[in-house]
Amino acid sequence: MRKVNHRGWFFVLPVLILVAFNALVPMMTVVNYSVQETFGDNVFFWQGLDWFQQILRSDRFHAALGRQFLFTGMILAIEVPLGVIIALAMPRQGFWVPVCLVTMALPMLIPWNVVGAMWNIFTLPDIGLLGYFLNHTLGINYDMTQDPVAAWATIIVMDVWHWTSLVVLLCYAGLVSIPDAYYQAAKIDGASNWSVFRYIQLPKMKQVLTIAVLLRFMDSFNIYTEPFVLTGGGPGNSTTLLSIDLVKIALGQFDLGPAAAMSLIYFAITLLVSWLFYTLMTRNDIR
């Protein structure tokens, strides 16, 4: 058990000041905008909660939120099982381990707009590797700037490319921490591969998987740069996720009030879902 020692506050003070400065001041600005209306010249009028009502009732917000949940749901449904499968198949020791780990982590170290630009080049219909292969070798009519389905498939595949490794590395960390004795015991009992997975490997991965889902949820829900660079939210509005829509309202149309209200609603949703995951995660924390 940890000691009760309120000296701990001195230790966290620098962190508190730096993060609070970055988090609270901009947050207060956003709250301030969300309850006011302006016609320019820095003149503001009290608006109350009108913006919140307007956003919550607007079809545009519902559509963007729906697309956001669809995107996050789809990438979680693909990346988590895929990550587990790859982690299970990875070598546990030897020369290939660091090679695998480093090459797998590489996509995560590429600046997000470069990821978008790279996939843009990769999928150009006539001169991109993937675009050329699909159009000319397989004869599928593929152009993500025209076809919403192709655009969706592309941003999903891009995110799978970009972030599945996070799930793989987390699960792998969980797997290598299983002592060999467990496997030997399972072998003596004549356990099948499935039972080894179900009763030894899965329980060990449960905690890291919760972290993986938490991180992937937070990051995919806030995703902006990659799809923006790749599709710009198009064709039409088909890939306009929440962040993209928010930036369009805030910086494109300069509707600060509605944008601020939308930011707060958006943040509240992320917070709520993440809190649920976090509670689940810490409940399983043995320490």
């Binding site: 009760v4 020692n5 000296r7 701990g8 230790f11 966290v12 620098p14 962190v15 730096l18 993060v19 400065f21 970055n22 988090a23 001041v25 901009p26 947050m27 600005t29 956003v30 790859i86 198949a89 990875m90 660091p98 780990l101 480093v102 590489l106 170290l109 590429i110 600046p111 997000w112 707009n113 470069v114 630009a117 996939w119 080049i121 990769f122 001169i127 991109g128 590797l129 993937l130 050329y132 490319w161 590395l169 987390l170 792998y172 960390a173 890291v208 972290i211 829900f221 806030n222 902006y224 740069t225 929440l242 930036v247 805030a250 910086l251 930011s263 992320t270 917070l271 993440s274 976090y278």
Partner: protein, 265 residues
């Protein structure tokens, strides 16, 4: 066993394809790229790289990025160390709430804060400096560093602290000479993650800079504007942004899996 190793192999191949395409494009001339499809560069050219290394607006982009990323890494890890120690060793009023509040800052969509950040740093008079970007990235890097370090510190038995204090070590001396060397892997991993997330973030970095501290990733948007789409140049600049990440990851390769699990395995 043989068949099983096919899965990671195919996966790595899938990861490398877009990267290969980017690198291949960077060695082609713009005419060749627009002229038609070719799997390998027909005539290798270093023209794109030459442009980047001779044009100050290009190479300063790299130096700027490296400068604010390093500054941010140093700040984040330094302040996160004592805080992580407190979270892992002491119980104090509001510790759990504080820890969760720190994590919520990882969840705030950067798009939400872009405009207020601009106004805040403008008002403070540090707009377009390395310090501005480094401080802004603390928003998500400090919570992450605290989270990782707390995980690694939790794995160190408390008896180590107690023995040291019985032996008459003062707290700062214990922390620097005994405790830090024990968790140096954790410090390395935390620094790596701060570097990584500061390096890949663009929205805030772009919002908070104009000329003097402009990151490379923002300089890249230039290729799309002026003389059409300079794909070769874009690809070369993109290829170069992968290199710093590839270098730092090599140093932490043995701890990376544990690091991604935030020290909690």
């Amino acid at each position: 066993m043989r068949k099983r190793s096919l899965i990671p192999l195919i996966y790595i191949l899938f990861l490398m394809l877009p990267i290969y395409w980017l690198v291949a494009m960077s060695f082609k001339s713009t005419q060749e790229i627009l002229g038609g499809f070719s799997l390998f560069p027909q005539t290798w050219t270093l023209a794109s790289y030459r442009t980047i290394f001779t044009d100050p607006t290009w190479y300063w982009g790299y130096l700027n990025s490296i400068a604010y990323v390093s500054l941010n890494t140093v700040i984040s890890v330094t302040v996160a160390l004592p805080a992580a120690y407190a979270f892992s060793r002491y119980r104090f009023l509001g510790d759990k709430q504080l820890f969760f509040w720190l994590l919520t800052n990882r969840m705030a969509p950067a798009a939400v804060f872009a405009l207020p950040f601009f106004q805040l740093y403008q008002a403070m008079g540090i707009f377009d400096t390395y310090l501005a970007v480094a401080l802004a990235h603390c928003l998500f890097n400090i919570p992450l560093a605290v989270w990782i370090l707390e995980g690694f510190m939790g794995g160190v038995p408390k008896e180590l602290d107690e023995t040291a204090f019985v032996d008459g070590y003062s707290f700062p001396r214990f922390f620097v000479t005994v405790f830090l060397p024990t968790i140096k892997a954790g410090v390395g991993v935390a620094a790596f993650f701060c570097f990584m997330f500061s390096w890949v973030e663009l929205l805030l970095a772009k919002t908070l800079t104009a000329v003097y501290a402009k990151p490379i990733a923002a300089t890249m948007t230039r290729t799309a504007s002026s003389a059409g789409y300079e794909l070769g140049l874009l690809a070369a600049a993109g290829t170069l942004t992968i290199i710093p990440g590839a270098i730092v990851i090599w140093f932490v390769r043995n701890y990376i899996a544990k690091g991604f699990a935030l020290g909690r395995v």
